[in-house]
Every structure is written in C-alpha cells, then in structure tokens.
C-alpha cells in the first residue's frame, strides 16, 4: 500500500488510512503532506519554545506525538523495554470544532518488550468529547485508560515528575519518571530537518528521564528501573515525497552522553542522515549529515519483511563506533500500521542501551 511509504515515526496517518480516512490520504501519501499542507501551520526555523504550553497539543499543525521509551532492568538484571505513545492527527485545518465535530483523531500505542516476549496494543479516539486529549495544567496526556500525567509540582524545566500508565492484554505498566536535567531541543534549536528540501518538524526531547515502577508481562508483575527518553514532535509536512521510511535510534551511553540518530531512506537508494549529540553537561549539538554512518549488519525475518535488526553505528566526530543488537529481534508492532520498535544494547567504543525504530519496510515476496 502506498501509505506504507509514508510516515515515520510512527505511522499514524497510515493507521488512519486503515480507518477509512484513508483512501485520499493514502493516495496523496506524504507527497501531499510534503507539498502543500494547505491551511495547517508551517514549521519554520527560529521558533521560541515556551513551557508548559509546548507540553500540550498544537492543533494547528497536522500531526503530533508524545513518545516515551524506557530501557529497564529488574532486580535480577534482566532487561525490558517499555513504549508509550500518543499520536494526534488533524483531519482538517481551521478552528477547532466542538464535540463530535472536532477534527482531531487520536491513536495510542503501548508495548512491553522482554527478551522472549513482546506484548502491545493500540487504540483510537476522536477528539472533542474527552476520550483522548492533552491538558496543559495540570499536565495530562491520555487516551482511554492510558495516561501520562504530572505528579505535581511539575517542573517546566525538566517536564518531571510524571506518571506513565498503560495496560493491554498480557501486559501493563505503571512508572514514575524523574529527571535532573532540562529538556533538550533537537536539530537546530528544536527545528529538525527531514530532507534537503525543507521538510521539517519541531522536536524536543527529555533524554534524562529515570523510570521506576512496575511492569506486568503475561500476568507477572516485575519491579523495574532504568533510563527513559521522551520525544515531543509536531509538524505539518514531516517527510518528502520520495522518502520511503526511516531508521531511528536513541542511545543512553554509559559515560552519560545521549545520542539521537536517524536515517531517512529515499526511493533512489540514498539516505538523509541527521542526529544530535547530547553531552552529559546537557549541551545538544546537531550532527552534520556526513558525520553519521548507520550500516545494517544483521537481518531478521519478521511478518514477511526483512528487517535490519543489527547495526554498525559510527559518529566519527565524537569517536563513536558501536554495534547495536536488539533485546528481542521480534519487537514487531503489528498494529494497524505496523513497524518495528524495541530496546537495543550497544557495544564498542562505548557501551549503552537505547531504542530502535524502523518503518516503511515492504513485505518481501
């Protein structure tokens, strides 16, 4: 399907295509989004971010997400991953309509990953009636019973402490997120370019979260803790027409540095690389495209697709040269729009953990 080549971090719009919104959105693909996002607000460089307002939704933009991943360990040292995602998509520009007429559609994804198990679920909601939404004060982002809410007092600097909850068949979690360092603006002061032709998003992160709490996996409750990472991103035209999918990863390095890298795959076989190096001092430096090397090293057959689940990752400017391997190579999100998302570990010049996301891989014959 055409929609498969669409989105990105997170495949929301294609999910809607399944819901039926779609015929048109799918036909346009992100070509339409990449072109004239008529009526929606545009992403331009030099925006001033303001908190707590920017914790909340930006309904004038077409698409937006609240995205948390956590690399957790239990008392015995076993590794787990947790994902909590809320997507928002506007089906039409213009003033927000009241009640059921509201043009926002919301989608939630949640998952718990162990070395041998991967449990996930998804849910959908329409805006305007309270089934899903984001309140700024007190902060709460929710869809159905899944929520990310402030544990007052919430710091505007760190976006902490937060409580993160979700549950589905065979899994659940209830985590507390704390942070001791401020939010980080990705790209160029929060302006994240996605192609040479100007597609971009507003993008900030909180890579300094520490998660503690409980996860439930197949009926077993497990006390866990570990680093977590929040991404907030919104845009109206995030991808170019010829971009077929992407490979994104976040790393918590043992020395305390954090790294965000992504590779957008183009139809012509070329790639658009971008990323930020976030020093332990909290300074975020955009990485030039030619400083990043991401090379597939091993593949896994999942859901009829050949996915590069092992990577060689190099950032020459920072002396990074590591091999990334997944905790569970079958961390497949078989949601309405399917993609791979799961915890990884890296070894080499640096050791550490992180999350890998891969979208837009076609089913192979």
């Amino acid at each position: 399907m055409n929609a498969d080549r669409g989105m990105s971090r997170r495949g929301f719009v294609a999910g809607l295509a399944w819901l039926g919104l779609g015929a048109r959105a799918a036909a346009q693909g992100f070509a339409g989004l990449g072109g004239a996002a008529a009526g929606f607000a545009a992403v331009t460089p030099g925006r001033k971010f303001a908190f707590p307002d920017d914790f909340g939704a930006h309904p004038d933009f077409r698409i937006e997400w609240w995205y948390v991943t956590a690399n957790l360990r239990d008392a015995g040292g076993a590794a787990y991953g947790v994902q909590w995602t809320l997507f928002r998509q506007a089906t039409a520009p213009g003033p927000q309509r009241e009640g059921w007429a509201n043009q926002q559609i919301w989608m939630g994804h949640a998952a718990v990953t162990g070395a041998a198990t991967h449990r996930f679920n998804e849910t959908f909601a329409r805006g305007g009636v309270g089934q899903a939404g984001v309140d700024v004060a007190p902060f709460e982002a929710w869809i159905d019973a899944w929520r990310m809410a402030a544990l007052p007092p919430l710091s505007n600097e760190t976006f902490a402490p937060l409580r993160l909850q979700a549950a589905g068949e065979g899994f659940g979690y209830d985590l507390r997120l704390d942070a001791d360092r401020p939010l980080v603006l990705q790209g160029d002061h929060g302006y994240s370019r996605k192609s040479e032709r100007g597609q971009a998003s507003y993008y900030y992160s909180q890579p300094w979260f520490t998660a503690t709490g409980r996860i439930v996996l197949d009926g077993r409750a497990i006390a866990v803790s570990g680093p977590a990472w929040l991404d907030r991103e919104w845009s109206s035209q995030p991808l170019a027409a010829d971009q077929t999918g992407w490979d994104w990863l976040s790393l918590h390095l043992d020395g305390g540095d954090k790294v965000m890298l992504f590779r957008l795959r183009q139809a012509d076989g070329g790639h658009y690389f971008a990323g930020n190096w976030i020093g332990r001092d909290g300074r975020s430096v955009p990485l030039p495209s030619d400083a990043i090397e991401m090379t597939p090293r091993g593949f896994t057959e999942v859901a009829g697709r050949r996915l590069p689940t092992q990577w060689r990752v190099e950032v020459a400017s920072h002396g990074l040269a590591v091999d990334a391997a997944p905790l569970n190579p079958r961390s497949w999100m078989a949601t309405s729009f399917p993609y791979w998302e799961g915890p990884i570990a890296v070894h080499g010049s640096h050791d550490g953990v992180g999350y890998l996301e891969m979208t837009g891989y076609p089913v192979t014959g």
Partner: protein, 818 residues
Amino acid sequence: MRRALWVLAVLLSHWRRHPLQLATLLVGLIAATALWSGVQALNQQARTSYDRAAALFGGTRVAMLIDPAHATFPQAAFIELRRAGWPVSPVLEQRVEVGGRALRLIGIEPVTMPAETAAGAAVGRGDLHAFVAPPGRTLIAPETLRDLGLRPGATPRIDRSAELPPLQPQPQLAPGVLIVDIGMAQRVLDRPGLVSRLLVGHTTRNAAELPETVAGTHLQWVAPDGETDLARLTDSFHLNLTAFGLLSFLVGLFIVNSAIGLAFEQRRPTLRTLRACGVSVRLLNVVVVAELVFLALVGGLVGLVCGYVIAAALLPDVAASLRGLYGAQLPGALALQPRWWLAGIAMSVGGALAAATASLVRMARLPLLAAAQPDAWRQAQRRWLSRQGALAALMLIAAGGVLLFGDSLLAGFAVLAALLLAAALALPVVLDGALQLAAKGARGALSAWFWADSRQQLPGLSLALMALLLALAVNVGVGTMVRSFSVTFTRWLDGRLAADIYVSAANETQAAEIRRWLAARDDIGAVLPGARTEIRIGGAPVQIMGVADHATYRDNWPLLRAAADGWDRMHRGGAAFVSEQLSRRLHLGVGDRLRIDDDWSVDVVGVYGDYGNPKGQLAVDIDALLRHFPETPQTRFGLLVAPEHIAGVLAALREKFHLDARQLADQATVKAESKRIFNRTFAVTAALNTFTLGVAGVALLTSLMTLSGSRLPQLAPLWAIGLTRRRLAAIELMKTMAVACVTALLALPLGLVVAWCLIAVVNIKAFGWRLPFQVFPAQLLELLGVAMVAALLATLPPVLRLARMQPATLIRIFANER
C-alpha cells in the same frame, strides 16, 4: 488414460440402452440437489440480509450496556468507561419518519466501533472523514433509497424537522435503516450528549467488573446472545426449512440408491467380462467412481438450476413470512454466492457416492467368477431385521433422552429426527412381523407363497417404504400443526380484533381532530383509545399496550389464564396481563409481580395469546400507561360501529382526513390481511411438503422398477405352472399395495406424534407459544388416500409391463435362470 476412457465408454453405453434408468438416476440426483439447494439459497439469502441487519441491531454479536430505566443516558458514561479501560462504543438510535416512511436512525461512532459489528466495516469502506466531518453522510441501503424516491446526496428532513446529512447508498446495509455519525444523530434528533446504548468490544473483563453506577447512571449489561438478535429469532424458521430440505435430500438419495443398485445388478455380467478381458479391479473401481461423479455433476448442476428456480419461486412467501413473523426485511431478488454453487455440487457428489456406497462395495468385492446363488436369504434377512430393530430401539432411546434433557430448539428437532429415524428403521421389522402374521393365517399354496414372497421382497422395497413413511409422517405432522394453528389463530384474531374500524392518525394534532369529529357523529358506538410504547426488560424489547376499559375487551380478549378479578385490577392500574411469550421468557405466572421500571411494578393477573409476535407484550390500563409514559403517542384508536354504518364512517373518515390504507382499516380488512400473512407463512412449508411426498412417490416407483426386473425369474416358474400373466400382475399389485397400505397406516400415528413434537416442543422453543393440539380426521383420511394413489401410480408401470410381457420373454427367463 485411454484405457480408462474406453472402460468408461463401455460403462456409459449401458445408459444409452437404458435411458429410463438414467432418467431415474438423474431425477433422483436432481430432486435431491434441487430441494436441498433451493432451501439453502433461501436461507443464504436471508442470512445475508441479517448480516446487513446486524449493522442496525448492533447488540447482536457484541455485548451492550443499556439504561434499563431510560431510553437514553448521558454520553459521559461512555467517556468514563473508556477512561477505565472498557472498549465501549456509543450508539444513539431512534425511529424517525422520512417521507411518510418509518425508518431507524442509528448514530454510530466508527472509530471505537467494535470490529465485530458490521456497521464499522460498512463505514470503513467509505471515507471516515466525510462520514464524521460536517456535513457528514447518511448511509442507506440502495433499495430504501429507491423506496423513498430520493437520489444520492439528497438531504431529506426527518419528522418534518431536522435535515439529514447527504444520503449515500451503501449496499451492505439492511433496508429501512439510516446510519449516521453519532454526532450527527445527536444533532438531528436533538439529543445532545445522549446515547441509547454502549456496544462492548473484545475484552477479557465481564459484567461483574462493571462499576455500580457510571456517570450517575445504573447501566445494565446485555449479553451478546440477547433476544433482540434477528438471526436467532429467525433461526427456528430456517431450521424448519433446512429440516425439510434435508428430508427431501434424503428422499432423493433413496431414488439414487435404488437406481444405482439396479444399474449395478444389470451390469454385473459386463463388469465380469471387463475383468476377464483384462481390466484390473483398481482401474474398474476408479472408472466406476468417475462415472458416478460425472453423473452426479450433471445431475447436481441441473439440480442447482432447479433449486434456483424453486428458491426464486418461494422467495416472496419466505420474505412475507419473515416480515410477518419477525419484521425481518428481505430483498426481493435472489443473489447467490459462489459458495452456494460449490456446496450444492459437493452435496450432489457426496450424496451420490453415499447412496452408491453399498453398490460400490459389492462391486469391489465382486468375485471374478459367478458365485453360487445365496440360498440363505432367510438367514440374512433375519440378521438384517434384527440389526434394523436394534438401531431403531437405539434411536428411540436417543429421542427419549433428548426430550428429557434437551432444552433448545435444536434439541426439539433432534427429538423429531431421532423419532422419525427410529420409526423408519423399525418399519421393515414391523412389516415383516405383519406379513409373518398374515402368512400364518394363510391357507392354500398360492396365498402362502404370496405372503412369503412379500417378505422376501421387503429388503428391496424397504428403503422406498421408509421414504414413504417419512414423507407421510412429516406431512401428517406438519399438516396437523398448521391446521391447529389455523384454527387457534382465527379464534384469536376474532378476540383481538374487537373494534370494527381501526384508525392511526399521522400525528397527535390530527388524532385530536379526528376524535372531535367522531364525537360529533351519532353513528359511532364507542371510540376505544389505544396506545403502545416499547421498553426493555432484561435487555429485550417489550411492548406495553394500553387497553381501554370497555366491555368488548372483557368479552373477547384471548385470555389463556386469568385471575377472577383480573380485568378490574388491571384497570385500577396496578396489574397487567402478559403475553404467553413474555410469560414463558420471564417465567411469569398469574400472581407474580413484574417491575416495569423504577417506579412502576404490576401484578400479573392474566396470560393471553399473542401469536406471531416476536416481542413480549404487556397489556395494561391505558390511563395507567399514559400516566407512567406521558410521551406515548395517542394516535391510534378503534371504533365500535354498527355493521350498517361501517362503510359510511370509513368513507367519511377517508374523505375528511385523507387517510390511506395503512392509517384506516375495517376489521374485515385487517383480518383478511392477517390471514393472508398467516397463510403465506405456511405456504413454503406446504410447498416443500408436497415436493417431499412427490419425491417419495418417485422413490417407490424406482424401487419397484428395480425389483420387477430381478423378480421376473421368481415369477416365471409360477407362470410356467399355470398362472396367467394378468393374475400374476394382479398379485404383484396387491402385494405392493398391501405393504404400502400398512406403511401409510403406520405413518398416521407417527405423524400425530410428529405434530405433537412440533406443537409441544418445537413451537414453544421457536415462537414462545403453545397451540392446543387438535386432530383432524378428514385431513388424515385425505393424506391416506393421497399416499395410496401415489403407491398405486408407482406400482402400475412395472405391473403393467408384467401383464403385457411376451410369453417368449418369460420362457427365456425361465430357461436361462439356473
């Protein structure tokens, strides 16, 4: 391959020399396939439309939550439950009027709609954004759109007020339904923030985990298999059809069985020759099966076409029945899926192979060299009879067991099936006993031979006689049931239709005008106001009917049981009569108490018959009803008018208020219409009944044809020792008629047992009411006559052939038979 084809050609050459036999075989295959697939086509058609109807019923396949006390409740309950993790989806439903037609407007929320409901899929195929965003869409079945005389994109007004979103035809939808987004529904119905029910999607949680109150509302969990399910309601009807289809199929297979048996007997020497000339057993078996499959395919295809024709012919009656009995809408044109064709062909081939099993096994074991004639037929027959008897006893025990322990409609049919099978299996045993008895009393060589020979003939005839027994018994059973129903129904109609003229005004204003106008006339005996509303008890819809305090009701109302002062207590407001269906479903009897809603409970003071109504019904005093449900429309009333004034009042009403046939009718018209619906309901049953009897007749004919050939060697010696051909033929005729007559006589009591089963077991499960069991001797005699005529017709051709047989033929048979 060429060798196989040559062998096939040799085998097929048999049919060219015996076209009548081929015709019989094909008739059997065609009859079996046609009736079965015809019935299946009807069922499939109905089920397809129920699937479409599932979109509007919502609660059919998924559990739902309702407010038992109110028609709607706040949408906040939806949000609260979602935020507690319940996968619920809101629905707002109301009856509306568009262009004078009553339709169901259903507002759904497509994003949370459980995948199990058809509506989600129906919307999903369209454009979600166009459906939910203003101006939205109104999904409508194409035929309903046509009925309304509107074009796609039209925005008609409902109830002469709000404008609907643009209409968009959607073929998957059930007729008579409008589907809009929940937001649109709340707007056009002026019910902001309200929903009628919440559908519950897939969840591991259950009703017990539901909070006591949600958003201040006490919600009731309705399990998915609630009584509202149209498919379940109509299951009985379809099971009925299927049972008949299966019976016809089996009877058809009796024909196939005897035709194949005959062909096998006649081709036995050819098969030996083939073997002697170098055809291996394996090749021969393969080719014989191939031949059978080929014939089954031909017969099956023709049968399917006939089945299609039968289905198309019966469809109007079936549609009328379903509409009359259950309010289920069926499209008028037959649309068949490829699956139906495949299933029909598979049934034909499978049936033919099953019917040929005995012949095939015998062929595979056929000794290459002619074996000595089995002279121990008597011993073999005794073994066969005791096996039949044991099986029959087993089936009878099974029937008793199911009757004792079963409690479903299916169990009812299982009792019937086991009973019929037991009777069929026992038939040869009974017949053998009867013939043995007759033989004991026989004097003279000829009569001794007559009875002994009849006994020897039994195995060959028994299948056909069983078919005759089954067909007759079912005919008697169904006939008795239908007649019982007919008598009861007519009596009941007389009681229920108390008024002389029925008026249904378009709205309250017109109703008031009509009442004023009527009050001014002196040819009106009385105006009997009527009112009706619908509530839910235990999640199922229940009608509440307001009855005026008038002697005509007291005199005529079809009460089955009642307390002595029932009418007085009912009109005081604290008591009600309940329909038989409702009393059975809720286990209510006279003296029990029934809670209608939070602030109205009534004593049950009577139970009345309410035949043909799929919903439960309560009859209460009309003033009490209007006190508790003030919004109940008061647009219907009955008039008592002296017979000589009826025509005049009707004409005046029609003239003055422009009332059409649906709004104004006299008692005779309503009665005639009801009886017409009733008759159509059983027209299908009657048609299938006739078909079945016809097929049984053909089965008997083919069995006799088969027998007559192989019996000639036994008759030839008798002819040789001096019996005339005419005499022989007369003896043959008498013998067959004697066994057929015994069979038919046995079928009568069996049929009455079947009728009792239908009335006392199946009907109660299927419809919720019980009929008084009545026997109609004239009808039984008539059927007996029909059976004997059928037997006579089936016996005549082979007997006539015998009577006209050339002596030379008999000589040859006599001389050749070793």
